[in-house]
Symmetry: C2
Subunit: 297 residues, 2 copies
């Protein structure tokens, strides 16, 4: 078995290779002056069992094309099996056709990944579980909630309360799982849709947060509004310190400012997205999964 | 038959729809805040014969993903046949594996386009003809040299000389074709590779350019160095005015400045790339091709 580190996840691939004690395949990648991607395998991979590590955070289209090209080349060069670890699986919001005529982006991605020869796909906290059904090859949806909770366990939270920022089933399962790791209580905020305006508001139910440290656990932060809203409610209800643990810290635009101004003390993301908030690695989750220990919610 | 205008080629699609007298399919496209592309067909295309118009100039990866998603959705919604017109076919430089382990990008693109359900592909002046062999579906490589020559014919060139900026077979065929349309002479510059340094220099052979208007015909301008070099040689040999006609005016970085400083009076590109130099439309070339009149070199 050998690891191929894609351009979006070089450090993560390096970590995985060290933890597994297997070699990183030497590849050379570049972008031509016109922006086209190029990859060259610097060693023979014929007959090898490969793991390609390439997260698909923004710019998603470029990271996807890089994955497609590396995958196509690896198969073309005779790799025996190819498994992909894409911690952040782009285009996972559109899980079904809500309106007539809409694209099913996730289905397209699945079709291309399978056509180009992938044998299995590992990902972290996919935004919508229906996306998993679009794959014919095995797909493993692992969770980073446990690793995020372990980070905060080391930090020493006081009488902690884990909060899901909305009451969707998947969000609650992640919060519950993090709470279990922290040996803490958990609760979920409720989202309500106005039946006339369609506007979504988070309902400020009593969270019993007074004097306690709160940890908001979420799968993804984009604009930061959901998390900021949850933090404001927690602050209003007397929470002592407020932390955020998120699997995919996309943190678009001025989301960090919005979140910090809402009273959050620290945002902790994973290396599924390469930025300053990637304080937790998804490497151990993947390595355990390869050994059969699948961490899921 | 109906036309689908992709986001990279809206005006071109509009022109084609008018010339053919067929309807443009109403679609809605957007990018989500995180950068993901979305498309929705606003009308029924089940059973329709569709033509998707989407050029793949930079940013290539985004334009490719848009094409993949529109194609996947059209097929998913039951289109009977889908033909693609991609005037600029990205990733067409790497036509074979020059070095062990290199990617074959063009083959990957071909595989994905076919997998997602395209029935035929039309393109303009592909950079490398070997790319055409990678497709199992019919692929038509049309030329814009004729339309570019017609633009300059209207301009009224004096005793014109058409020049291919290098002596590759395809470049010479394009220059010869443009010269035929202009009823003019043509010639080609010679590229020589230094056998020790590998450096490529253009050989300044006698072009008989003195006092004449020169038209450099090329398939693609990226950095502009090849064209600027040809223009300098023409100027040194006493050419009166120097024009450039190019199928794909990528015009990266400061290429326009480099070219204008070399003595070129006007750069004329086509709408295969949307920019200020797109003065010639590839629409009539495609419309004629649909009617069986394939313009090729």
């Amino acid at each position: 078995m050998k690891i191929v580190g894609g351009p979006s996840s070089l450090n993560l691939a390096q970590k995985i290779s060290e933890e597994l004690g297997v070699q990183l395949v030497k590849i050379r990648v570049k972008r031509f002056p016109d922006g086209e991607f190029y990859v060259k395998f610097e060693e023979n991979v014929a007959g090898e069992n490969l793991l390609i590590v390439q997260s698909l955070y923004p710019p998603q289209d470029s990271h996807l094309m890089e994955l497609f090209l590396i995958l196509h080349t690896a198969r073309d060069l005779g790799a025996e099996t190819i498994r992909i670890f894409a911690p952040y699986l782009a285009y996972s919001r559109q899980d079904r056709r809500y309106l007539e005529g809409e694209c099913l982006s996730a289905a397209m991605i699945a079709e291309v990944i399978e056509e180009l020869g992938a044998d299995a796909l590992y990902t972290i906290d996919v935004h919508n579980e229906n996306v998993l059904k679009m794959y014919k090859i095995p797909i493993y949806n692992l969770t980073a909630s446990g690793e995020l909770a372990r980070y905060f366990a080391k930090k020493g939270l006081e009488n902690p309360l884990v909060i899901a920022p909305d009451d969707e089933d998947l969000a609650k399962r992640r919060a519950k799982y993090a709470a279990k790791v922290l040996n803490a209580e958990w609760d979920a905020l409720e989202k309500r849709r106005d039946r006339y305006t369609g506007e979504i508001t988070t309902f400020a139910k009593d969270l019993n947060a007074h004097g306690r440290d709160a940890l908001i656990i979420d799968d993804i932060i984009s604009t930061g509004r959901t998390v900021a809203n949850a933090a404001k409610i927690l602050r209003d209800q007397g929470a002592k310190r407020i932390f955020v643990g998120v699997s995919h810290a996309l943190l678009l635009g001025d989301s960090v400012r919005i979140i910090m101004e809402s009273g959050v003390e620290e945002i902790v993301g994973t290396d599924s997205v390469v930025n300053d908030y990637a304080k937790v690695s998804v490497s151990p989750i993947f390595v355990r999964a390869l050994r059969g220990e699948i961490e899921q919610v």
